[in-house]
């Protein structure tokens, strides 16, 4: 259904040196700082990191959904299917949002408009992108709801969000996101606000719709357990930067960055899930207090060395397809790089 053909052999999404900033007291501070990554067609890429490390800002930047007049893309490039969408205006974005690239959010309780029926909100995305009749749209939305596991879908289209549970609403959000069969879905912590049992169902559903539609997903989560189950590749973010980037297997077998190690350590064992990573002492520095030089994780790092506060590490490839940004590895040291 999508206009985009598979002609373009490059990655589906390419983010290059993205910088997104917020003004604090008149000065702009980077919430996303020099982030680069790619997402291949049909793959699930996990983005992990603690609260406040810029995961949402990064995904909102890609969607051009940053709070209006506040957040600003300061630099870098976003390429979707080979097209540079970095400077797209609202009108241009509206042509692709919901159609080529969709997003679902953390809070299913507030993400739907309380005064419109589920059917109305679901059909809206269809009307935005296709010329179809009301009747067709209604049928399509009923079948979409059924495809996301809502059995009473004929009734649910007439209902209002407050009549549905959190899990049901997130299913509706997913139905909305896949209605136009986009190539890319950004899911920003889609299960954080849900009960544990419901979380598993929603993740299963995401996996299912992903394979049926052959779509790529950027899955943002706090939970490395989720990453292990769902993802092909992982990006670990800290304080607005990518600190490690590799495949899921490699990440768990061979974590390089001390922050990643800490994250893996803090996965609750014995099958007890917890949704927040609480066990790393300290917090992500606020935008204003971000160190300008050196590693931003240094003050919390168990393996910190004196150099860590003076040398700013760079993402370096320590192994095929495994990049890390920590001066424990020579590849991350700016100098060595320059010499190489």
């Amino acid at each position: 259904m999508s206009e985009h053909t598979k002609e373009n052999k490059g990655p589906l999404l390419e983010v290059k040196n993205l910088e997104t900033a917020f003004p604090i007291d008149g000065e702009y501070y980077n919430a996303v700082d020099d982030v680069s990554f790619t997402v291949d067609r049909g793959k699930i890429v996990g983005v992990v990191g603690e609260s406040g490390c810029g995961k949402s800002v990064m995904s909102l930047s890609i969607m051009h959904l940053l709070p209006k007049g506040i957040g600003k893309i300061k630099g870098g490039q976003i390429l979707l299917d080979g097209k540079d969408i970095t400077n797209y205006n609202d009108k241009e974005m509206n042509k692709i949002r919901g159609k080529d690239i969709s997003m679902i959010f953390q809070e299913p309780m507030t993400a739907l408009n309380p005064v419109f029926t589920i059917g109305f909100q679901l059909e809206e995305v269809l009307f935005n992108h296709f010329k179809i009749s009301k009747k067709e749209a209604r049928q399509k939305s009923i079948s979409l709801l059924r495809s996301v596991g809502i059995s009473r879908s004929e009734d649910v289209v007439e209902e209002y969000p407050h009549q549905l549970s959190g899990g049901m609403r997130q299913r509706v959000m997913i139905a909305m996101a896949i209605a136009c069969q986009p190539q890319l879905l950004i899911a920003d912590e889609p299960t954080t606000a849900l009960d544990v049992t419901v979380q598993a169902q929603i993740l299963d559903l995401l996996k299912e719709v992903q394979s049926i539609n052959d779509m790529a997903i950027v899955l943002i989560t706090h939970d490395l357990g989720v990453v292990a189950e769902m993802c092909d590749d992982v990006i670990v973010m800290y304080a607005g930067e990518i600190v490690e980037k590799t495949s899921v297997e490699e990440l768990f077998e061979n974590p390089k960055h001390p922050y990643t190690e800490k994250l893996i350590d803090s996965i609750p064992k014995m099958g007890v899930k917890q949704d927040r990573l609480g066990s790393i002492p300290g917090i992500v520095p606020s935008l204003k207090n971000m160190p300008r030089v050196g590693c931003k994780f240094a003050d919390r790092c168990p393996r910190a060395m004196p150099e860590c506060t003076t040398i700013t590490p760079l993402l370096g490839e320590v192994k095929d397809g495994h990049e890390v940004s920590c001066i424990l590895y020579d590849e991350s040291r700016p100098k060595e790089r320059a010499n190489a």
Binding site: M63, G98, S102, F105, T110, F116, T117, E124, N128, H129
Partner: protein
């Protein structure tokens, strides 16, 4: 819904009884009595006066007087105006229609202006236009309606001659003709604007703030993520949410308008129940006063009921049953 309405209406009965006791007592405690209007003023024979007092029931015990008044009242017999020498029901009916016309015009004007200005200001928040509308609103809030009324009459009637000085329509027009209605509208325009100024200003400001608040809500982001256009987001997604509280204000408007009508009608010498009320106070026309007071109280109760019912109708999250 029907059951709820009936229940609420039934619940009003004890309330109204209580109010009627208060109204009756107040009338009793007020100085003088309306006897003066009922008897022949040239005849000051004490025997004649005593006879009339007896005849009109002024010598009955208080509770009997009260009971007579209440039973007559619920049967639609509000007594006779001592001032105009006609049945109060007759008097109130024609005045009521005028006030109703004024009230409805005022509400329509209020909502048209409030929506136009509130939506513009909310969407273009913190722009020059927003500040301009905000300024207008503070003006509307700060200037009392009797001053606004006088200023309007001075400029637009006296100086420019654009609007009539008073009355509800030109004399001698055939009711029901187009000219008649145009004339009525012409007469009602200025008082309606003045009467609605306060509400217009507060609704505009309310709508603006609500739109700004709603525009930051998650569901707006969801709509954007679907590719919904900016104007559709404002005119449908946000507005539909902000309209809910505004619509429910309609119930309170009934109260505001009845209260405001007293002063506004007096300034524009508009023959509605407001002027009637003031006249009756001045002339101690008790039967009219008591009727109007009961009437105002009933309107307040009904206004509140309307507000609650509207809430149930316009907000899907609230089910009334």
């Amino acid at each position: 819904m029907l059951k709820y309405t009936l229940r609420r209406l039934l619940g009003m009965i004890p309330m109204l009884l209580l109010i009627s006791i208060v109204v009756f007592s107040l009338a009793m405690f007020m100085p003088g009595d309306p006897l003066g209007g009922e008897i022949d003023p040239t005849n000051s024979d004490p025997e004649y006066i005593e006879e009339m007092r007896e005849k009109l029931g002024y010598n009955d015990p208080i509770h009997v007087q009260y009971w007579t008044w209440v039973t007559n009242f619920v049967q639609g017999d509000f007594g006779k105006s001592t001032q105009y020498k006609v049945q109060v029901s007759e008097l109130v009916k024609s005045r009521m229609l005028n006030t109703l016309f004024l009230g409805i015009s005022s509400i329509v004007i209020t909502y048209i202006f409030a929506f136009a200005m509130g939506m513009t200001a909310g969407r273009k928040a913190y722009s020059k236009l927003d500040h301009f509308i905000g300024g207008l609103n503070y003006f509307g809030l700060a200037v009392p309606n009797y001053i606004a009324g006088v200023v309007i009459i001075y400029f637009f009637s006296f100086k420019l001659g654009w609007i009539p000085f008073g009355g509800s329509h030109e004399i001698g027009l055939q009711p029901g003709t187009l000219e008649y209605w145009i004339s009525r509208f012409h007469h009602v325009l200025a008082p309606a604007i003045v009467l609605g100024a306060l509400s217009t200003a507060s609704y505009t400001q309310f709508l603006r703030n609500d739109i700004i608040e709603s525009s930051r809500k998650d569901f707006v982001r969801t709509a954007r993520a679907k590719g919904t256009s900016e104007s559709k987001i404002y005119n449908s997604h946000i507005l539909r949410n902000s309209v809910i509280p505004l619509i429910t204000f309609l119930g309170f408007d009934i109260v505001t308008i009845v209260n405001g009508a007293v002063i506004t009608e007096a300034i524009f010498t508009y023959p509605g129940i407001g002027t009637l009320f003031l006249n009756s106070v001045n002339n101690r026309d008790y039967s009219v006063l008591m009727t109007l007071t009961m009437f105002f109280s009933l309107l307040v109760l009904i206004g509140n009921l309307v507000a609650d019912l509207l809430y149930g109708i316009v907000d899907p999250r609230i089910r009334i049953d």
